[in-house]
Symmetry: T
Subunit: 69 residues, 12 copies
């Protein structure tokens, strides 16, 4: 393993289905512009309520990816 | 958008099925007495174990709703 | 000073003017139903942005008031 | 064990005697209006000083109790 | 209820399926050597990404169990 | 409401006038390059002192904005 | 003083009497199997309520002890 | 820039006007006895309520200043 | 109530008897040199263990007192 | 000193040598694309272990730099 | 990569030389009884002072290692 | 061991060499006016960057020392 430098960005994914799906949506969005995604960490878990039911699950994650120094 | 004031209450929902279901149970309970639920935020995620398996998933959430000033 | 018990409730005030005004709005709302408000503490400070400018300042506070045991 | 929903409220008890007594005072106050108190958790421990001695011990606790959905 | 003493250990479960499954895997591992598991609490939620998709969900939990004094 | 993904960036605004003005300066800077700013959250509040008076109020905020997946 | 390595374990002691007694019970339990206990630190303070009174005081502590490398 | 050592002290300023004014009052008090004040950081923001209105805004800050080694 | 400025200092009191006594020892020490002590807040609760028993209870507190501007 | 706006980014540097070297590697990487780096703050300190020895020291830092509004 | 379960233990290493050396001492101690050490994370950094100089650097770390389910 | 009271002060040491050296500088500064320094704890680790390189390592520590009651 070489000496790497990683950059971390923060994204909030939303989904009508589940927390896991909200995370997958955020990662899918990130991989359109960034190669070499390595890991994520959950920062905050929320949701909004509409007509008295959960409307969207919202998960804020930090994603780490390698950058070339 | 007018100037609103929101009240926040804390509830713990429990479920034998999943974290999402525990949250839905807490919100269902809140909406019986409170109108205008707006959002929730996860505060703590726990569970109890019985006969060496997860018995109940427990999620403590803060729920925000509009109050009339 | 007697032995008192205090209850704490959490409110989010919003204002187009400033953080102080958002707090005053939350306290004004609380005093309509609760006597004996004693102190508040700022929990979170946020705002929403509309048309690229700050639209509403939002301050979540805890308010403490005496209850009669 | 059924699926329960619990509500959490925050109280500050004060006592001239000790931290344990301040907690008991807060619980005694809660049980006058709420059935089914289940547990508490200490949030903050403070005190005020008068004439250079501890005058009141103050403990802020969260109390959880079952609600009927 | 007698006076009990509980020990808490920290485990990270991983799963290709979901957060709940990662927790169940950690508990299954714990129960092979420890009797009397009582509860768990989620400490951290992460995941690793491989070929631009979530590869493993990772949940770090604290598990509490009774010890005989 | 569709499924959105939001990106969060962190900025520190400074102002000789007030905390609110420091936040507005940070947002003004962000909106030059980013469309669809949605909300901000205060992370840290500081200031520097020069000639024994407050010289600059400094507020670090997180700004959220929609990204197109 | 030599170079030492310490291990830290986490225990929850419970007592019908007081917080101090709950801590002593946890330490008594630890010393049955571990020599060279050095210090403890309080992590969390809780209690359960039964028949509307405090039934058990519960204190979670970290205990440090020397290990031989 | 030489190697400096800074000392940090904690003060709570109060004001009937605003948060900024409460901070200025604390700094004014500090500069009567301390030279070379450099920066401050907000630690806690509170207020007390009297006759159902905000009576005093209270801000606890850490102030850093250079000491001569 | 006038505009006051308060200073906060941090002390660790120790006692062979109890947590409350450790706090009283720290306050007794502070009042020898400082007038106008107003309140304290518990920061950390620890203890050291000697011969397999609690030897000293240690409580770190912040004490606030009025200063004359 | 003018009114500036700073942007903060998060990087993880890794090194086989030391924590300081891991930080220098992250800064070296940042300065290839960003002018006007001003300060950093350590967020997290970790490492991975290979063949029972520390293989890489890993430090996550926030770096602040001036942006032109 | 299979589904793994990791256990985390907490150790405090001490050294007269440096923080890095204190960590290496803790890991050396762990590897005498545990195979498959994977990573560590720094939890707390302290030191004790003797004769007005730093006597020992003390670093508390969490070490993760694979367990066989 | 007698009942002692300890005072804690906060200092930021800076050094062009390393984190350990920044801590030693802060302690050297403290020992010029204070006897009986006992321990320190790291609170924050930062640095400033000049000409695209680390210029000064900055470590904020809490130092504890015995006071005579």
């Amino acid at each position: 393993m070489q000496d790497h430098v990683y950059k971390l960005i923060e994204l909030t994914g939303t989904s009508t289905a589940s927390f896991e799906d909200a995370i997958e949506k955020a990662i899918k969005c990130a991989r359109n512009t960034i190669k070499n995604l390595c890991w994520f960490q959950v920062v905050e878990t929320r949701g909004n309520i509409n007509k008295r039911k959960v409307d969207h699950w919202q998960v804020t994650i930090t994603i780490g990816f390698t950058v070339e120094g």
